[in-house]
Amino acid sequence: MTDRTPIIEATNMDKFYGDFHALKDVNITVHKGEKMVVCGPSGSGKSTLIRCFNGLEFHNSGTLVVDGIEVYEGAKQIRALRQEVGMVFQQFNLFPHLTVLENLMIGPMKVRGLGRTKAEETARKYLDRVHIPEQADKYPSALSGGQQQRVAIARSLCMETRIMLFDEPTSALDPEMINEVLDVMVELVDTGMTMVVVTHEMGFARKVADTMVFMEAGRIVESSPPEQFFTNPSSERCRLFLDQILEH
């Protein structure tokens, strides 16, 4: 699945919020087609890291190259970058004033300049992919959390990006809806898309991850293939964290 061409490369990345040091000297490489799962305690910088990947946040020092584009505040190609990097949010962030179909069509039409028929075709295709074609004409508020998140995934897919970022996609969901979202994400794995997923769903991680990353206090503490990560993590802190979340 993975070839060894880097698609996201961060070198010595630092990020501050005022005095708070959110990312400390982060070095990380994501390869084309790689599935990376990032975990760690809250406040450890996982979300900040992936929000930097599509320019929703900007790092303060070091370099970050995503899909051949150097990311920094004020970069002209930020919009070009965002068109190549999809993002799924913890709170779904669907557009409440648009129907499901319109949510999916607005990006391709306004950003990519697709015609209405072509955009609708794409939208319906991806709505099928997330298994809710029958919800096309409803407003987001009429859907369950799991359905909303699947629409959000479809919205990202409609932009036909090569990289997808997931920022705790199941954390805001009721337990019985987590699996329907994870199932859709597992199905995406086979498309060869590069995925960086911040999540604590370790079952999902075991199933799909090529690389597991553990962060704490703004640092990447551990980065290893899942076999090693789950059985023999090199750091004590990571072992403790895994014990805690795998306990139940």
């Binding site: 965002r82 999809g86 962030n93 409440p96 306004k110 950003v111």
Partner: protein, 281 residues
């Protein structure tokens, strides 16, 4: 199967009742009676007062200024023409005020130092001078300089004055949309302009409608002030009729009622619009 026994027995202590006097004044009938009594006293007072000063009520002469019945149907009277000018003036000023207000709000939100500085300077300047002085500035100072006639000067005065208030309404409405909406729009590659147009503004409308209605009502009412430079709107027409007929009591009451009718109709209309834009999150 026998019927279930009535288990609805109050078990806890009864809720404490408010004191008797509070219950007495709080009841609907008593409130209505008090209201009616106060209104009657006011009306009686003004009529006897008018009588004592020998005022000659001539309500029957009023309708001709509103409408007259002819063979062709109803013909609008002078006051309706005045009302027409008031509405035209107010709507033009409101459209212009919204455009200026949006510009100021966006400048303020742009995050540019110069943008916010310009916006804040404008807001403070407008908010801290009286409307009447602003009108004089436009008519007597800028008027001769730029060759503004009295109607244009009036429109500009009202537009500029209300744009300051409207810009704050727009800014609050825009800020009320969740940050996540910005992030979602950005993450699919939208420009700031597209995000405003397709995502943020359509959602802000429902936050803006109630205060905007208040603002239109306010604008229609403050348009009466342009009567001081003799623009032929409702208030000016009222004054002209009075100088012809000396029926100041009747005409001022009528003018007030006409303003009230227009603004009330407007408020009711907007409450329908509000339902239209209601989106549950």
């Amino acid at each position: 199967m026998s019927a279930a026994p009535d288990t609805h027995q109050p078990r806890g202590a009864a809720l404490r009742q408010p004191p008797a006097i509070q219950r007495f004044f709080g009841s609907t009938i008593v409130s209505v009676l008090i209201y009616a009594a106060v209104m009657a006293a006011i009306i009686y007072g003004s009529f006897t007062g008018a009588q004592n000063m020998g005022y000659n009520w001539q309500w029957h002469r009023v309708p001709q200024f509103l409408w007259t019945f002819t063979d062709d149907g109803i013909e609008m009277g002078e006051m309706f023409y005045g009302l027409g000018v008031t509405i035209q003036l107010s709507l033009t000023a409101f459209a212009l005020a919204t455009a200026i207000g949006l510009l100021i709000a966006l400048l303020r939100l742009s995050g540019l130092v110069v943008g916010s500085a310009v916006a804040i300077a404008f807001l403070e300047f407008i908010r801290n001078i009286p409307l009447l002085v602003l009108l004089y500035l436009f008519y007597y100072v800028l008027g001769p300089i730029f060759g503004l006639d009295r109607y244009t000067a009036s429109v500009l005065t009202l537009a500029v004055f209300h744009s300051a208030l409207i810009s704050e309404i727009l800014r609050a409405g825009i800020n009320a949309v969740a940050v996540g909406q910005w992030e979602a729009a950005k993450s699919i590659g939208m420009t700031t302009g597209q995000t405003y147009r397709y995502i943020i503004l359509p959602q802000s409308v429902r936050f803006m409608l109630p205060p905007m209605t208040g603002e239109v009502v306010h604008l229609i009412k403050s348009s009466a002030i342009v009567s001081v430079i003799a623009v032929a709107e409702l208030t000016t027409i009222g004054r002209n009729i009075i100088s012809d007929t000396f029926m100041s009591f009747e005409i001022w009451f009528t003018v007030a009622l006409v303003y009230m009718a227009v603004t009330l109709i407007l408020s009711v209309g907007v409450s329908f619009l509000e339902k239209r834009y209601a989106v549950d999150q």
